[in-house]
Amino acid sequence: MSQIPISVTVDGLTYDDEVEPRTLLVHWLRESIGRVGTVVGCDTSSCGACTVLMDGQSVKSCSVLAVQANGHTVTTIQGLAEGEDNWHPVQAAFKECHGLQCGYCTPGMVLASIDLLQNNPDPSEQEIREGLEGNLCRCTGYHNIVKSVQYAANTMAGKDQPAELTGGAR
């Protein structure tokens, strides 16, 4: 089967490769360039575990062909932190608020949350839940995920964190 040349910028690095047209973006990210932080959770476009940013917008990388990423910029969970200790505010918020249990949905949750906050920097709880409707947590740990997004919104806006987001029983 024919191979098609692609050039894609992923997490700040440009990769030139050749792919079969049927190769999904998520498979290319994981198997060809080692971005295994992007995971596959379903086969139905439902779960959002494979969410990445393409040209800054969230997409489900199981529902985009690798050839379609040609000439575009992709950000994965592995491209957010600037060094070991300098996490993206959304990553830091998920750690602070314990916005994960098994962690499998977390890469997609973090990237979907970044997309949500760039469209709506000060979302209500309802807007957070609706904004993350395309990402499923099989541990059903949504409560702390919502808090994580609220915490991140406060951090990014330079606001103090309210008491219910810091310490105590959550």
């Binding site: 529902s63 379609q68 979907a112 949500l116």
Partner: protein
């Protein structure tokens, strides 16, 4: 799963896309945003010999004001449709219904034209195009033609487009002053398909409803107008009772099916209840 192998072309103009579709014979498949096609490919429920990716054709993109109507390029994403100031001002019913389609990541890729051409009976947007008397412009090797939404959707996942035609744009008459609107969707989960949906536009003058346009999602193999409700509402009092009486005929003439989500008679019940809610909200009653 991994899709079955296929060839891939990415035209940058509409004539190139039509030429690729003609050259592919019966086995070519248009990819617009891919949010319905990719799952089907992954599950190997489709095996096209060539996928014609139309997502980077500039002439299929964007929304423009055309006087008494607005024209939306078939390749405009749901995200861009629902955030377009032109759509929000002149066709707010479309913006509202589009915001209920799937989830944000899918709305970043999925397109209005793709959703209409796919003609899923549970899709939200065909009922909106039908309710608003939309006109769909298609182009093939023999030129372009316009198809009224009422003539476009013919059966399950089937339209009146020929095999070698592609959908280019959708024209929607502007909703002017006095019109209210609402899309009411009954679904099992937040990102789920509509079990039943109702797209309603209602025109009021003084204490009366002067006109209503109502499209039903998932009440037949293709979207249908609730014509008897529209007739009953024309000139009706703008009261809860009058709307309820009119909505009682919402399931008349529909062909609801039974599936694992709902039985046909339950869908008929939902159509009546949701039509009432949609009209009340659209009419500000």
């Amino acid at each position: 799963m991994i899709p079955i192998a296929f060839d891939y072309v990415r035209p940058t103009t509409i004539p190139e896309a039509v030429a690729a579709l003609v050259a592919s014979g019966e086995d070519g498949k248009i990819l617009a945003g891919g949010q319905s096609l990719m799952p089907v490919l992954r599950l190997r429920m489709a095996a096209p010999s060539v996928v014609i990716d139309c997502s980077e054709i500039a002439d299929l993109q964007g929304v423009r004001d055309d006087g008494n109507s607005i024209v939306i390029g078939a390749g405009t994403t749901h995200h861009d449709v629902m955030n377009s100031p032109i759509v929000k001002e002149h066709s707010p019913l479309l913006a509202m219904a589009t915001a209920t389609v799937a989830d944000p990541a899918i709305r970043h890729r999925g397109t209005l034209g793709g959703a209409l051409a796919h003609a899923d009976p549970a899709g939200d947007l065909p009922a909106v195009a039908l309710a608003l008397d939309g006109v769909l412009s298609v182009t093939g090797p023999n030129g372009s033609r316009d198809i009224a939404a009422a003539d476009f959707f013919t059966d399950y996942f089937t339209t009146s487009m020929a095999e070698d035609e592609i959908l280019v744009s959708v024209t929607l008459p502007k909703l002017g002053a006095g019109w209210g609107y609402h899309y009411e969707k009954f679904q099992r989960t937040a990102q789920g398909w509509a079990i039943v949906g109702v797209a309603a536009a209602v025109h009021r003058s003084n204490g009366n409803i002067t006109a209503a346009r109502i499209g039903l999602t998932n009440m037949a193999p293709s979207p249908v107008r609730a014509s008897s409700v529209e007739t009953a509402l024309s000139g009706a009092d703008a009261t809860v009772k009058a709307v309820g009486d009119a909505a009682a005929s919402a399931a008349d003439g529909t062909r609801a099916t039974s599936d694992l989500h709902a039985a046909a008679d339950y869908r008929e019940h939902l159509a009546r209840v949701i039509t009432k809610r949609a009209v009340l909200t659209a009419g500000g009653i």
